[in-house]
Amino acid sequence: MTSQILLTSSEGTEFLVDRDIADKSMLLKCMLEDIGDIGQAVPLPNVSGPILTKVIEYCAHHRNDPNFQSANDDASADIGEWDLEYCKVDQGTLYELILAANYLDIKPLLDLTCKTVANMIKAKSPDEIRKTFNITNDFTPDEEDQVKRENGKFSSGSSLKTEKNDSG
């Protein structure tokens, strides 16, 4: 019989989850390894019911992935079809998922959701980005010009693969 644990969302809703799915969260995995099986529910005051549902859905779908932990490491790799559909949610939900994945320490989900937001930023102008995310421009025109001048046309070397010493 598969071991199960009980999780409680911020509103007090209870979720019964198989142990191997809960273990996708490093936070829960370590907690359960330390404490062992507990009869009481694990409270997750930072995660609402609807978001916890989505998180569990992700972990359940990927429960048998052998390469789960490094799944979305590569910034230039395409997002898989199921993951793409999974991320078709409104922006508020997407950000809540980022926060939940960070809190629960589920790296592949954090990487997936952050990559999704990054894809919404790509190939846009600053103004288009501001409109997409409802961000106020708090630069004065002078400040904006100065940042542009100082940062000009050069780029970050993180995409270069020619460096010898490439460890973190």
Partner: protein, 200 residues
């Protein structure tokens, strides 16, 4: 057998309104790590001040020295007076790889990077026009250097290695292929001064 049971009713109104600007900085930074083209990062820093601060370290920690004109532009920014700079750019620079501009790099350009006192990795492979005088200026600012590549700079001899021993005590890797003027005596001084040295 379903993996979960729930008594909640999914309702969009139960979600708090969460927006991108309210994410903590480290998560905004994590998002920026997935901006794969340099152009996108340069655009992102112009969106608002928070994004600018978050993106600045990514942009400047490892600036891509693709051509002499890019090097010129970077040094212009680094040479600004601290009071004129929007950000302390020089403090963000941690890796410099000059191998793509190696043949053209001259002393005057190199020494303008001597203000980057938090530099950890420096690659000068093939920079054959660089003289020991310019190297000294860089090394004097190199207290944080852990990795140094001086390969193919044939003017590098014992005096340069001794300066490395004096100033770069945190060094763990040194590349000196084709630096035929270097002898064992300076290498042993290096080994004595740099307790972390793993590879020469």
């Amino acid at each position: 057998m379903s993996p979960l049971t729930t008594t909640s009713i999914l309702s969009p109104r139960s979600l708090r309104k969460r927006s991108l600007p309210t994410l903590p900085s480290e998560l905004i930074l994590h998002i920026f790590k997935f901006l794969t083209t340099p152009h996108d990062l340069r655009v992102a820093i112009l969106v608002c001040k928070l994004w600018c601060t978050c993106g600045m370290d990514l942009l400047w920690s490892r600036p891509a020295l693709l051509s002499s004109s890019v090097v010129e532009q970077i040094t212009q920014t680094l040479s600004l007076e601290p009071s004129e700079m929007t950000f302390p750019y020089r403090d963000h620079v941690r890796r410099l790889n000059f191998s793509l501009v190696a043949r053209d790099l001259v002393d005057e350009e190199l020494v303008r990077f001597a203000c980057c006192t938090r530099l950890e990795r420096l690659i000068l492979q093939g920079c054959t026009q660089i003289t020991p005088d310019a190297l000294l200026r860089i090394l004097m600012a190199g207290q944080a250097l852990v990795s140094l590549d001086l390969s193919e700079i044939t003017t590098v001899g014992d005096s340069v290695i001794e300066q490395v021993a004096t100033y770069c005590t945190k060094l763990h890797t040194l590349y000196i292929a084709s630096c035929n003027a270097v002898t064992d005596s300076s290498i042993s001084k290096l080994a004595q001064s740099c307790p972390s040295l793993k590879r020469v």
